[in-house]
């Protein structure tokens, strides 16, 4: 492998990895707090992209299709879809909170289908163009072309993740979140409004996924109702690799997965069709040998 190729794959891996990491964060946070694999999370990402596209087309009339439009779309979509996450939690998951784990898992599948089916009905299965004026300008490192958009994208997702980490580790709400994840009953006895903390977790997780959706939509230039499916699976994989329930783990897992995909499929004699085999093969290996992931703590079952 030449140096150019290494740099190119590093760039490729970092970009995809940032998307995985953003979405994995929401998976991981929700799992940490209520031990639910929120399968609707990939669809939340898709909804975020669509809301972003609507906002973008709308504000585009005044501010044009440049950065300002993308930033507006990003902020509005994060807020709106964050609230959607809260609504889903309130009406789909909260009534099931004390039900057996399998029931709530199936509720999550149901929520995923509702979101996916609604998007299909509203969009007619069409791929919508998310055409920005961000352009392909950038810097060249020998034969590798890195656009400014790519740099901004990686920087933006890293700052979002860093903000989230700071929120969870430094603020009172973050502390409450961590407390609820350790022991929900005890937290309630300590006067923590558990429902509110869970709603907040859903809000933040969904907002991050929506942010990822808008960035992916604007970067790849296309949005469709099925885009959350594979993304959701890979983000889940990233969350498991990093250690599900751990915020830095999700970020690490996402970036590692992105790099693994990029370098895995560029090995000699390995076609790019093997990319998903690397991803899900790694998932299986982790589930078998280290189910707690890289940064996850092992959970002691108390009976």
């Amino acid at each position: 492998m030449t140096l150019d190729l290494v740099i190119q794959q590093l760039v490729n891996g970092l970009i995809v990895g940032s998307f995985y990491a953003l979405i994995a964060l929401g998976y991981s946070m929700v799992f940490g707090v209520i031990k639910l694999l929120n399968f609707a999370h990939g669809d939340i990402y898709m909804n975020g992209a669509f809301v972003g596209l609507v906002v973008f087309s709308f504000v585009g009339i005044w501010v044009g299709n440049g950065w300002l439009g993308v930033v507006c779309a990003l902020l509005v979509s994060m807020l709106a879809v964050g609230l959607l996450g809260v609504v889903i939690e309130r009406f789909a998951y909260r009534p099931m909170r004390n039900a057996p784990r399998l029931s709530i898992l199936i509720t999550a599948l149901g929520a995923s289908m509702v979101l996916n089916g609604t998007a299909l009905a509203l969009t007619g299965g069409k791929h919508y163009a998310f055409n920005t004026d961000l352009g392909f300008a950038g810097v060249d490192i020998s034969t590798v072309h890195i656009t400014y958009t790519q740099m901004v994208l990686v920087a933006a997702s890293i700052s979002l993740m860093a903000g989230m980490q700071a929120f969870v580790s430094r603020t009172m709400y973050g502390k409450a979140m961590r407390a609820v994840s350790i022991d929900m009953g005890a937290s309630r006895l300590m006067g923590i409004d558990v429902d509110r903390v869970i709603a907040l977790t859903f809000f933040m997780g969904s907002a991050l996924a929506a942010g990822g959706g808008v960035m992916a939509g604007a970067y790849y230039g296309s949005v469709h109702f099925f885009m959350g499916f594979i993304m959701g699976l890979k983000a889940f994989t990233a969350a498991v690799i990093g250690g599900i329930g751990s915020v830095p783990g999700a970020m690490l897992g996402g970036l590692l997965l992105g790099l693994l995909e990029a370098f895995g499929s560029s090995l000699p004699f390995v076609g790019s069709e093997w990319r998903d085999v690397f991803v899900f093969g790694t998932l299986i290996l982790f589930l078998v040998f280290k189910p707690t992931g890289i940064l996850g703590r092992s959970v002691v079952e108390r009976v």
């Binding site: 030449t2 150019d4 190729l5 190119q8 794959q9 760039v11 490729n12 970009i15 995809v16 998307f19 399968f39 898992l105 599948l109 995923s112 289908m113 996916n116 089916g117 299909l120 007619g124 299965g125 069409k126 791929h127 919508y128 163009a129 055409n131 392909f136 060249d140 034969t143 072309h145 656009t147 992916a216 790849y220 230039g221 296309s222 469709h224 099925f226 885009m227 499916f229 594979i230 993304m231 699976l233 995909e261 990029a262 499929s265 560029s266 076609g271 790019s272 069709e273 990319r275 998903d276």
Partner: protein, 369 residues
């Protein structure tokens, strides 16, 4: 486990919904099998709309042999498993004939079901050569097959002086078949294949493939799969600074390709099926389609309309709803539709290729002279 359950449950629910149409006893039932959900739902919708339009027009003129023709749509979701379920349901509904089929991968396993039941089946979009081999004699391919397209592709490469081609498919029966046939034909004609890659359907990120194409030194890329991936690949190739030619297979002929690819799509070649915009006599159809369904007629709308017409025509020529007679009538078809003529070879494929190369200029497909 969870995932397959999710897809399966979704699929069954939708297939059930799609089959709830109830028929009166004397009507002739035509099954439409198309992807109504999933990635290619938009194409499936077009096929259903256009076939229905043709059949409604025929009913207004008195139907087939004086009987009213009704349609039953079954959703194959372009998924082989679901296609089998959809096909079996159509058979148990007792349809006289079936039209449709967009993805070759989904059509392939259903050929045996329809063949065993002896139901005439006119395939609208799917055109893998594997379908020809698996045909039991009751199926007809109304679209040109992959090998005809490969020939058109190689002619286009030579005309543009492309010497090293990267061939990219999506791993399904249709696109991998076209990729293989084109690679063989191009090497046979003295060309070189720089790299042959397969991408995963439904993916947004093509950076790994783009990097491979760039480092392979290819002077052109041939994408054999569908428009959703095609647009993304085009965009990402240009973003990474790839300067060579881009040629697309017929699955990319959708207005969505040009919308999504935007300026990156300029100068891209496409091997086009007979779409309404390229057909001189289809202006009325285009207007009427938009008026009826509130959307533009997609790539296969004209051909779907023709097939709807053709099947009614064949039933009329068979002078009965007897399936053997209809199959014989289809074999003897000499039909002139919106998209051109439909005459079948002894293998039930089209006699003349209906592919034509077009180039994207100013956000539109224009014919290459």
């Amino acid at each position: 486990m969870v995932v397959s359950f999710k897809r399966l449950a979704c699929a069954t629910a939708l297939a059930g919904l799609a089959l709830t149409t109830v028929a009166a006893a004397a009507d002739i039932k035509i099954g439409i099998v198309a992807p109504m959900t999933g990635q290619l739902a938009s194409e499936g919708q077009d096929m259903e709309n256009a076939v229905k339009m043709a059949i409604e027009a025929a009913n207004a003129k008195g139907g087939a042999n004086g009987d009213k023709v009704i349609t039953i749509t079954a959703d194959d979701a372009c998924d082989p498993q679901q296609a089998v379920t959809a096909g079996s349901k159509l058979v148990s509904e007792g349809v006289t004939a079936i039209v449709g089929g967009y993805c070759s991968g989904a059509v392939l396993p259903t050929l045996k079901i329809y063949g065993d039941a002896g139901i005439p089946f006119v395939i609208i979009g799917a055109n893998s050569t594997k379908l020809v081999a698996a045909n039991q004699g009751n199926a007809f391919l109304a679209n040109s097959t992959g090998d005809m397209q490969a020939t058109t592709a190689v002619e286009l490469f030579k005309k543009n002086g492309f010497k090293k081609i990267a061939v990219i498919d999506e791993g399904d029966a249709y696109s991998s078949d076209l990729a293989k046939l084109t690679a063989e034909a191009f090497m046979g004609a003295g060309g070189e294949i720089a790299t042959k890659e397969t991408t995963n359907a439904g993916e947004q990120d093509y950076s790994a493939v783009v990097t491979k194409i760039k480092s392979s030194g290819a002077d052109a890329v041939f994408w054999t799969a569908y428009h959703a991936g095609g647009a993304l690949l085009t965009k990402q190739l240009r973003q990474a600074g790839f300067q060579g030619g881009i040629v697309l297979g017929d699955g990319n002929n959708s207005p969505e390709y040009l919308e999504i690819a935007g300026s990156a799509g300029e100068g891209v070649y496409l091997l086009s099926p007979p779409t309404v915009d390229l057909l001189s006599g289809a202006g009325d159809f285009k207007g009427k389609y938009k008026e009826t369904y509130g959307r533009d007629a997609g790539a296969y709308a004209a051909l779907s309309y023709d097939v709807g017409d053709l099947i009614v025509d064949a039933i009329a020529r068979a002078k009965s709803a007897d399936q053997k007679a209809i199959i014989e009538a289809l074999k003897a078809s000499d039909f002139k539709g919106l998209a051109g003529e439909i005459k079948f070879t002894d293998k039930n494929t089209l006699q003349t290729s209906n592919f034509r190369p077009v180039i994207a200029k100013g956000g539109k497909w224009v014919a290459v002279e």
